[in-house]
Symmetry: C3
Subunit: 220 residues, 3 copies
């Protein structure tokens, strides 16, 4: 699986970090953060998921603070946002598509790295999802908002979970190769894009089910 | 101290995780989180304290992301909350009692694990308390609230601190065995329950003392 | 560089922790936290930056939970705040000066420790800054506020960044000794104090630049 840490795929990782960092920089601008705040939010959003992953699987220092390439990609996004944010706000639709690609790449890369370090199937699936959604959660907490991924009902974490589970299954079966890995990426990306286009949602804990169940059985 | 990681006591740990996870799931429902948010909050609240403990003492990956039993216990709480939350909201009083038991078990188990990994007395007491209260702090931060344990004046962390200190003292004296450990659990549980029943509170930094002190000595 | 972990300089570290912890305790009092909350906020603010540093560079358990001296310094600040907070609120100006000294010491010590553990230049600069600003970020998140360091436009993180970069440069050149290190501390301290006195600010992502750029080029 070296193809994921060197060669063409590693450039995709830089793009994924950059795109995620853009969303962090924009959140910082909206909250009227200063230049330092914009750069930190870009860094935390672009690389925070991977930092949580590396801390949890014991691979310290995390690449998110030690890799010049990755840190540069995140800070570059912050600098660009700082100067050109109104333009980027208007590119929201394109950013959503790029973000779906970043989601897919983060899931594959996070799960694969963790499996390779013998963290086990379950922990690898968890940190695979965390690599993809952790940066956004840190971003939202740092700007004082409830994490979007927990409440917006969008299918964001669900494609990540499917991708992480599939990656782990392919790895267990000994068939996680470049082509199967790219199929996982394509699947997560496609699942996310179709969810967006069709407006699919995660269910809500409405009173519905319980009310019906309550009516059937009296009271709990 | 193997009795705490296998055998009957380990089932108690599952119950403790489940009970803590219930409080996380309920907080998520109250904030109108979606299904993914409810499951994550249950997981973070049930296992977050132990995850912080394991990261701090360097035992990675933390059991909170690698143990099928523990993760299943937390997610089961999330699923049950998702469907039956109104009923569980009404069971608040029973949950308080179960939560006191969870507090006691988490303290014993967190402190003991840390001592066993040679983290030292002080660090073990700190992570013992953190195992018990850390999940709730993460829950409150993720739903956008100030952590209850810092401000509600209840004796929640204080029994935990007493229990962690006592566990460390017994361990230092070489007399931490099953029976002394169960006595610690009983003491923490009893202390918490009596505090609840009598409405005992942690003091507040009121203006009182300083005002009096100021009157005596002019000004500071 | 042993002079920084023993001897006179190590007493300065205790002072730095105490001063940072004071700001945490005051934030807790303002939010009406109880005694436990005040102590925890003092501890998290005084030692949280170092705890994040140690977790990121894999030096567990962090000194912030295992060193009696450091934990005592932080909790002493919490106890003093609990009883005498109105007086300390009035000493705000003196606290700002002491806090600038703490900033300088934390940066030097965090960067040096990380370099000594072979974390690499980039990671060491990052955790050097984090040692200095991390405690305040955790404090603000725990009291439900947006981290001041991201948005108040003060030159707080910038002197830290300059100091961490300089420390790493001196270390790379093999000339990080007691006198050069003290020069770094003096520089960071002076930079911070002069910034405060002159009211220097970090730029804001105002509409300015983009608007001008937009006018020149039509639209993006």
């Amino acid at each position: 699986m070296d193809a994921f840490t060197s060669g063409p795929v590693s450039y995709l990782e830089l793009v994924a970090v950059f795109v995620a960092a853009v969303s962090g920089g924009l959140a910082a601008v909206r909250r009227r953060f200063d230049a330092f705040g914009v750069l930190v939010l870009a860094w935390v959003t672009g690389l925070g998921g991977g930092i949580l992953r590396d801390v949890l699987i014991g691979d310290t220092p995390p690449v998110g603070i030690s890799s010049w390439r990755l840190v540069t990609a995140a800070l570059a996004a912050g600098v660009i946002i700082f100067f050109f944010h109104p333009g980027l706000e208007r590119m929201r639709r394109s950013i959503l598509v790029l973000d779906a690609a970043a989601l897919a790449l983060f899931v594959l890369q996070g799960t694969t790295k963790s499996l390779g370090l013998d963290a086990g199937i379950l922990a690898s699936v968890v940190v695979g999802v965390l690599t993809a959604v952790g940066g956004g959660v840190l971003r939202d907490v740092l700007v004082g908002e409830v994490p979007l991924v927990f409440a917006d009902r969008q299918l964001y974490a669900v494609p990540a979970l499917v991708g992480a589970g599939l990656t782990a299954a392919l790895w267990s079966a000994g068939v996680l190769e470049v082509w199967t890995a790219l199929a996982v990426v394509a699947l997560v990306f496609g699942f996310r894009i179709v969810s967006l286009a069709r407006g699919w949602t995660v269910p809500h804990p409405g009173p519905g089910w319980t009310a019906r169940w309550g009516r059937r059985s009296g009271k709990m």
